[in-house]
Every structure is written in C-alpha cells, then in structure tokens.
C-alpha cells in the first residue's frame, strides 16, 4: 500500500453559463466522464460537487481528485474517452490566467485535499514553475517515499557531470 497518493486539481472559466446551449456538450459529458473516472484503475476519490464550492466565482469550474499513482491518472486523463472530452475544452472554457490550469501534488494516503489547497498549488505552480509541491504531467516529481538518496528531485533530464 502506497504511503502517498496523487492529488489533482484543474480549474477553468466557462465561456457561457451551464444552462446555455454553448456548454451543452460539457454538461452532457459530466455524468459519463465522472462515472468513467470512478471506475478507472487507481481512482481514489473526487470532489462530487462540481465547481460549486471551489471558488467564490460562479463561472469557474474545477475538478479535484485523488489517484493512487501518476500512471493511473495519466491513463484515465489521456488514454480513455476522457481525452476527447478534454480536447474540446476550449469550446466551453477559457484559461483562468494562471500559467497552467492543471496542478498535481502528493498527499499522505488517507487524507483529502481541499479546493482552496488546489488554488494555492495552482498559483504556486504559476509563480515558481514545477516543484515537488506543485507539478504537472510534463514535469512530474516522484512521491516523497520514492525519493532515494540526498539529491533533490529535478524535472530536468539527468546530465553527465
């Protein structure tokens, strides 16, 4: 049993209200995609109230979920029907204005992240780039219990000395 799980937070601003025909495709996909996440290998938990309590801003939709591993989250995100859903995201969303809309970080297994924490991590990622506290699929960091030796984790490929 892993001691750490991966937290995932994603936020974007709707182009139109949820009852507008322009976002119908997004709304139609919500239930099937959430159901797909729930039955995906390595899924641990997700915040069920989509967006409702995440920020004080009504038009921001966020997802917050917990996964057993980076590979499990990657498989769901990019190797399932979810890929086509996320491909169409700009039909429905505009970026929030941070440098990224998705952030990942490790949490002790058995604990749950909060949306406020997600916003903080997203801001941190924007300010400092990928670090062990807030990273991305493209620049991942290993779970704290997977880090061996004294060298700090680095997103850069190892270079000969």
């Amino acid at each position: 049993m892993a001691t750490f799980h991966l937290a995932h937070f994603n936020a974007a601003r709707l182009r139109a209200p949820l009852d507008d025909p322009a976002t119908a495709g997004f709304v139609a996909g919500l239930d099937p995609i959430n159901a797909l996440a729930d039955r995906s290998p390595g899924f641990v938990w997700r915040l069920a109230e989509e967006g409702a309590t995440v920020t004080p801003v009504d038009d921001v939709i966020a997802t917050l979920s917990v996964w057993e591993s980076l590979e499990a989250l990657r498989a769901f995100t990019y190797q399932s029907e979810h890929l086509d859903y996320v491909r169409r995201r700009r039909d429905w969303f505009v970026p929030l204005g941070y440098r990224a809309s998705l952030v990942l970080w490790w949490i002790p297994a058995g604990t749950l992240p909060t949306p406020q924490e997600g916003v903080t991590r997203l801001r941190r990622l924007g300010e400092h780039g990928p670090t062990a506290e807030a990273f991305t699929f493209r620049a991942p960091f290993p779970a704290p219990d997977e880090v061996t030796g004294a060298a700090p984790p680095s997103p850069l490929p190892a270079r000969p000395a």
């Binding site: 990019y78 190797q79 890929l83 086509d84 491909r87 700009r90 039909d91 970026p95 440098r99």
Partner: protein, 212 residues
C-alpha cells in the same frame, strides 16, 4: 553536435538494409521475423539477419523473442528472434542544426496557456484539406502524412503517430491537432475520423460512414 542521429541514418545508406528497415517499419509496431524480410526482399535469410542486426546495433530496430504460429509446450521449438521498430528512438538529422522540436514544444505550451486550441485545430483541418490528393485513396493520403494505416472490418487504425513525442507531452492539444488534420484529409470520402485512444498507436481511428 550529437552524432547519434547521423550514425543511425548512415546505417541506412545501404539499399538492401534500407529496404529491410522499410519492411519492418511498414508492420507498425508488430514484430517481423528475418524469414519474412528475406522473402519480401528476395534475399537469403543470413543476409537478412545480418542487415536486421546492424539496424538493431544502430538503435533503429529492437529485438523481441516469441514463438510463432501459436505453438506452445514441448516441441514448439525455441522462440524466434523478431524485429520491430524502436518507436521511442527518434532520429532527426539536420544540417546545419535546426531544432524544430524545441520550437514546436514552445509553441504548444503557448497555445495551451492562452487557450488557442480552437485556432490550432482550424489551421490543422485546413492543412489536411489543402494537402490531400482528391484522386488518392484514403490509405495513401494518410500514408503521405506519416500515419501507418491498417484497414480491417471497415475501420482504419493508424500504427504510427507522426507527432509521437509531442503528443505524449501535450495530448489534448497534439492529438486534437492530429484528429483535425485527418478530418480535413478525408472529409470528401466515405470515411470519418474520431478520437479513440489506445496504447501503441495513433489516438485517431477512422470508420466507414453509414450509407443509409
């Protein structure tokens, strides 16, 4: 400048070896035996094996072992040495040095950050339309763009992703771009493309439109 790419490419200078590489590459990721290569090229098995092993040394192919024709158990013989394209070993040679991949990564990140995907997909669809040959079969059109189309049961799978590395880094963006390109390529035919991700091949597949 790192000479890995140059070494890999110079291994292909021999015409027979180049034909052997093409033979294995055309199978997509599926492993191919030396006997198959020898038969298609009309050369001896020893010569075929020699060229295939040179291609392995150069990092262009990789070796797997498997029993062929489904035989198992005692008497099935030892596993055959098979060859397939080393998909993750990409070689790019540019003289003088040009680094378009880096440029592509920077552009991709900028498109993602600004949310300009719709414009990218539009550009890609137009590109697909503009580069298609109206008289060409769908498979040839896809082939010309670097996809390795394999048709079976009214469905086409693409065994190669022309944007492999980039697609792994920016899946929604690059797979979306790829889908839009293919849509533009085939929209005047009886085929339609959709996003259908699976490991080991392009995330786009095509199917025959219903005619009724």
């Amino acid at each position: 400048m790192d000479d890995t790419g140059l070494n890999a490419v110079s291994t292909l200078a021999d015409r027979v070896r180049r034909a052997a590489y093409r033979e294995v590459a055309s199978a997509g990721g599926a492993p191919v035996g030396r006997d198959d290569v020898a038969a298609s090229l009309g050369i001896g098995r020893t010569l075929a094996a020699h060229h295939l092993d040179k291609l392995v040394d150069a990092g262009l192919l990789e070796v797997t072992y498997a029993r062929r024709s489904g035989r198992t158990g005692p008497g099935a013989g030892r596993p055959a040495k098979l060859y397939r394209v080393a998909a993750d070993a990409e070689h790019e040679v540019s003289l003088p040095p040009r680094t378009y991949r880096t440029a592509a990564e920077l552009l991709a990140e900028a498109v993602e950050r600004t949310g300009a995907e719709v414009a990218l997909f539009d550009v890609a669809r137009t590109h697909g339309r503009a580069t298609r040959t109206p008289s060409a079969e769908v498979a040839d059109r896809l082939e010309a763009h670097g996809y390795l189309p394999v048709e079976a049961d009214g469905r086409i799978e693409l065994r190669n992703c022309p944007y492999h590395r980039l697609a792994e880094q920016f899946p929604p963006l690059i797979c979306g771009m790829s889908l839009a390109t293919v849509e533009g390529l085939v929209e005047d035919t009886a085929w339609s493309a959709r996003m259908d991700p699976a490991p080991g091949r392009c995330c786009v597949t095509l199917s025959k439109n219903k005619t009724d």
